[in-house]
């Protein structure tokens, strides 16, 4: 599997990551129709736009999103509604955006994507599983190119996670997104070959998608077509 493109944005200065700035998110909101979209969705769409660049999506392009906490800011807004207002006065927009695949829907609409889109959620190896699934989709002929985008937004739960489970979650977890554009065609190769080996893989030290393995992301960011990445 070849990496056609790689992007990474974080609010913290991490090796291999570009800085996630309000300007970047604003630019994304100008380029795509994101009226009701929340921050998590905007992160995912930002990565999708950057991955594709000036390229157009076609029916052979698939999307797999991966997250641990997902759209929990919006989920909690819905809970605010339930706590603060009569039960018959919950706002439907918040609820409908609290599903993990809302972000995929916005990418689909922004890029006019008709290919398969899958939202994954998990706390253990969700980014690796998403990359493995992209490989399965590509080899299975479900798509000719696949975007894998993993994101975590900073909100109340990620801020409190360390307090609630210090051994598992780091204090001051970064916010951000990483994205891969993958293909089996050597013509699409810009950032090298990605070799996945499940049995050799050790669990990333953090369940959080980012900061788990800084060296790895740094390698992707600096790779060229001759690189070889083992994961």
């Amino acid at each position: 599997m070849f990496i056609g493109n790689f992007v990474a944005y974080s609010d913290q200065a991490l090796p291999g990551f570009e800085l996630l700035t309000p300007e970047l998110l604003k630019r994304t909101r100008e380029r795509a129709t994101l009226r009701r979209a929340d921050r998590y969705t905007t992160l995912i769409v930002s990565a999708a736009l950057a991955l594709l660049g000036d390229d157009a999506a076609d029916d052979g392009l698939a999307l797999i999103t991966a997250t641990a906490f997902g759209t929990h800011r919006t989920t909690f807004s819905t809970l605010d509604d339930i706590l603060d207002f009569p039960e018959a006065q919950i706002l439907p927009t918040r609820f409908s955006h609290s599903v993990h695949n809302a972000a995929a829907a916005y990418v689909g609409a922004a890029l006019k994507m008709r290919g398969p889109a899958i939202a994954l959620a998990g706390f253990e190896q969700v980014l690796c599983e998403a990359l493995e699934l992209a490989k399965t989709f590509l080899h299975g002929g479900l798509c000719t190119r696949a975007m894998v985008i993993a994101a975590e937004e900073k909100a109340l739960l990620t801020e409190k996670a360390h307090e609630l489970w210090p051994e598992r979650f780091a204090a001051d977890m970064p916010e951000g997104v990483v994205g891969f554009l993958l293909s089996l065609s050597p013509q699409d190769n810009r950032r090298g070959r990605l070799l996945l080996n499940r049995s050799a893989r050790v669990s990333l030290s953090s369940p959080f998608t980012f900061g788990g393995d800084a060296k790895l992301f740094q390698a992707f960011a600096h790779a060229d077509a001759t690189s070889e990445h083992h994961l």
Partner: protein, 90 residues
């Protein structure tokens, strides 16, 4: 249009922009007698439900009443006037 109605419409436009997250629009973009849904503002059925709930929350207009008067959703003016009339009754 009397001054009170003009004031109410101006305020109601600002409210709609806030509720429906159409920050790229200004109150001037909302034309009184143009259809509220479809082209123009680009509002859809999800916005309609959102408006109904905000009317409940902010103006205490219950859903049944709105359901019986679907025609007030025709244009911005019809909706605004309905809300103004209802709130003056309270």
């Amino acid at each position: 249009m009397d001054e009170q109605t003009a004031d109410f419409r101006r305020e109601f436009k600002a409210n709609l922009i806030d509720w429906l997250q159409i920050e790229d629009k200004t109150p001037d973009d909302i034309i009184d007698d143009e259809p509220l849904f479809g082209e123009g503002l680009g509002l859809d059925s999800l916005d309609a439900v959102e408006i109904v709930i905000m009317l409940q929350r902010k103006y205490n207009i219950n859903q049944r009443e709105v359901d019986q008067k679907r025609e007030v959703f025709a244009t911005f003016a019809t909706l605004s006037d309905f809300v103004q009339e209802r709130s003056s009754r309270q």
